[in-house]
Each structure stands twice: as C-alpha cells, then as structure tokens.
Amino acid sequence: MSAMLQLDNVTSAYGAVEALRGVSVEVNKGEIVTLIGANGAGKSTLLMTIFGSPRARAGRVLFEGRDITAMPLHEIARAGIAQAPEGRRIFPRMSVRENLLMGAQAFGVDPGPGLEQAFTLFPRLKERETQRGGTLSGGEQQMLAIGRALMSRPRLLLLDEPSLGLAPLVVRGIFSAIRTLNEQTGLTVLLVEQNANQALRLAHRAYVLVTGRITLEGTGAELLARPEIRDAYLGTH
C-alpha cells in the first residue's frame, strides 16, 4: 500500500536560504507520525511546503497518490489536508464560534458535527464560544486551532508545535486529545514538535530533522531508546 502522504526528495527554501535539502517523509493512513528537531531545523517549513508555501524547489509532494506539489494553497486544503499552524493563527477579531465555522465554510460540509466534535474534545471552547479569538489564552487558542482544522473533516491533520509555550498540564490534555482523535476516528496525524519526549511517546513513527535533512527514522519507541536522541532532545534522565 502506498503512503497517504509522501514527500519525495523535497528541497525547499526561503529566498536564498535552503531550509529543506532533499527530505523524504512518508505518512501512512491511520498513523501518528512525528517530526522532531531543534529550532530552525526546518520543521515548520516542511509543513508549509506540503501546502506549497513556500513551494518545493525540487522533489514531489504526493497526497493519496495525487501530485499536489504545484497546486494552489486553497486547493491543497480542499484535497483533505488541514493544518493547525505555527503560532496558531487564530482570527483575533472573530468569535470562537466564527473561527470554527471558518474551518468548514470552504468545504461545503455541514458544520454541525465539527462543532460538536470540537466542543466535546475541548469543552473549554464551548464556554468561550462567543468570546473573541484574540482574547483567549495560549492553550485555548491551541485547542481552537485544532478544533478549527478538524471542521473540514480532513483525512490528514498537520500539527505544528501544539505544545509551544503551554503549561505541562495543558500540553498533556492536548496530546491526549490527539491520541483520542487518532484512535476513535482513525485520523492520520503529522505532528511537528520540539517536545520530543511526549511526541515520541505519542507517535507510531518518527523522523529526526537536523538542519534540513532527515538524520534518523524509526518507531517512537526505537527513537526514545537511542542514546543520541536522549542526549540531543530529551535532556539526561
């Protein structure tokens, strides 16, 4: 069976700065795959390159067998990929409810089930339903970003550092929501994280990205056990 998402030797750059140098990554249906790496390794660039922004300079991006490398941003989204991006990018002057509705409206799907899912997964969002996005706390914004991404009923969810800047308890809540989603709905997830410890525990498979290149790959448990990973990303336990 071919992979749901396949990055095939992708090179990507901002201006003259090469951020990805021949990266190949596969995500299979139903998997949680994590991509760990230090600041500036190219993790966010990889997620945005899937959306063609920036466009891959070389290599191909395939989604469900379709070549999406050159597709416009909004069409890639409509193909069934959603993203909770770096910085969460909540619409600050829209209510929580409107933010969620934005996630569905370009897809012609009934927003009802998505709203229900978001409110069940994150009851806090229900309490804040009419509040403006810009006034939410960081954790609430992250919940909203994930809830909004799910509104279009995507088959693949890209998550960019959902734990960034959040308290450990909040992070645990968000990671357990991701696990629940994956187990109950079979949602495929590509998770980018600096918080390697928790990400590797959550993921089925993982890649390590170092200055634009994949240096290691394996199951989450395998990578957790490797000494060089422990030294570089997990601190010394």
Partner: protein, 314 residues
Amino acid sequence: MAYALQQLINGVALGMIYGLIAVGYTMVYGIIGMINFAHGDIFMVGAFVSLISFVLLSTGGWAAGPGAVLLVLLISMAITALYGWSVERIAYRPLRGSFRLAPLISAIGMSIVLQNFVQVSQGARAKPIEPVIRGSVELWHGNGFSVSVSTMQIVIVVVTLAVLAVFTWLVTSTKLGRAMRACEQDRKMAGLLGIDTDRTISITFVIGAALAAVAGTLYLLRYGLADFFMGFIVGVKAFTAAVLGGVGSLPGALLGGLLIGLIETLWSAYAGQDMFLLRELNPAYKDVAAFAILIATLIFLPSGLLGRAEVEKV
C-alpha cells in the same frame, strides 16, 4: 440657528457620499494593505456610466421617475464593479508578493489611465445633465429664513443608509463576509482553510466599486455635472475620511465621511462671516480645511477615531 441647521443638513448629505467612497478605501486597505489610489477614479467612472445611462434612457423617452433612477443606479453599479474587478486583476494581482510600494505606484498609474480613458472617450469638458430629482420639503419657516431638505438630499441619505445596511449585513452575517474578514485578519490562514483568497480579494474590489458607483450616481444627480477629473478631489477627501475614521474600520469610514462633509460645508457657510475670528477666514479654502484634517489626523491620531486599539495576545 436656522442657518446652522440648514448647513448641517447639507453637510450630512455630502458626507454620506464621501462615506460611501471611504468604505471602498478602507475595505481594500483592510484586506490587502494598500491604498487604492484609483478608487476616486472608479467613483468618476460610476458617475459617467450613470450620466450615459440617463442620456440613453431620456432619448428612449423614460428618464423620469424613481424607476429610472433605480435602473440607472443598478446599471452603474454593475458596470463600475466590472471596472473595479479589472483594475485589481490587471494592476494589483500580478504585483502581489512584490515589494510594498509596487501596487501603490501601480494604483497611481491606474488612476491616470482611467482619467485619460474617460477624457479621450467622453471629452475633457464637464458634462451636465438635466435635474432628475426635483423639489424640496420645508421643515421650518420664520424670520425671513426657512430650513428645507431637498428631495435629492433625502434620496442621498436614504439610498446611502440602505446600501450601507445591506453592505453591513453582507460583511457581518454571510459566509462571503466572514471570508472577507478572515482574509483581512490573516490571509495565509484563510488559504490554509481552503478559502480562495484571490477570489475574495476580487469580490472586495467589486463591492467597493459598486459602492463608489452609488456615490458617483448620487453626486451626479446632486450637482448635475461629471468630468474626467472629478474623482481626484472627491477621492482624496474620501481618503481623508477613511483616515480620520480609522483606516480599516467600516463604521469609521462613514463617520469620517460625515465629519469631512460637515467640516467642508460649515467652512464654506461660516468662513468670512462677520463674527469673531471667522472674518479672517476665506470660504474658498474649504478644501484646505479638509486636507488640514488629513495632516492633523496623520500626525496626532494615526489610527483614526475608530481605528484599532485592541491588544491581541500572541
């Protein structure tokens, strides 16, 4: 007192027209962060399309009555919207992602193109039309002075408020409006959610141009003249209104329009009168007054009266 009231009425009617145009400036600024300097000329095109439509209808023998005015308004909105769409398509979209000044320079170029196009195709002289809407209502009479509202002024106020009500509903309560607001707040994110942002931007230009066409039609009916250069001065005043109200704020655009209309009208009415310091002022300087406001706003209140002062968490 009666005189003041009369001037207030005149000022409000003029301000409504500025407000309609200012909304177009502020919408485009909100969504792509540029001042569309060709917008005043879009207003001028709207006035000309109406003028031509009135002439055609009157040669057909039915230029009178509210039906004809409404028909002309709709024709003008449709054709001017097409101009607005084309301007964005030709002059701004290819420059998206270019350096920040590029579309601004292109906008000035587009303004010159529209003016020259109309000058060549319609002639350089001001074109008059017969008054279409006549009559007035006397509100108050006494002391040899009366206060009256012309039917035209009533039409201006009613049409503007109706158009802006529909527009407000569109922006706040429809999917299209939500997409426009999303593009304004974070265009990249809107794209990640599957919104065709280029299309949303096009629609913004179409709506802005249609509003300018309403303003152009009302202006033509009120003053009875159209010329190829009329969009410049009116456009700069509407731009001033948008800045005064707070660029990016839709209610601010109408508020700014009303204030500029009132200031201009009151200046012409009172400057040079034999009272206090007013006798030192020259009524001919009404435009100077409007632009002094622009400069003062930019220096002392750059975010305008209703501009954003909200603190956003990151």
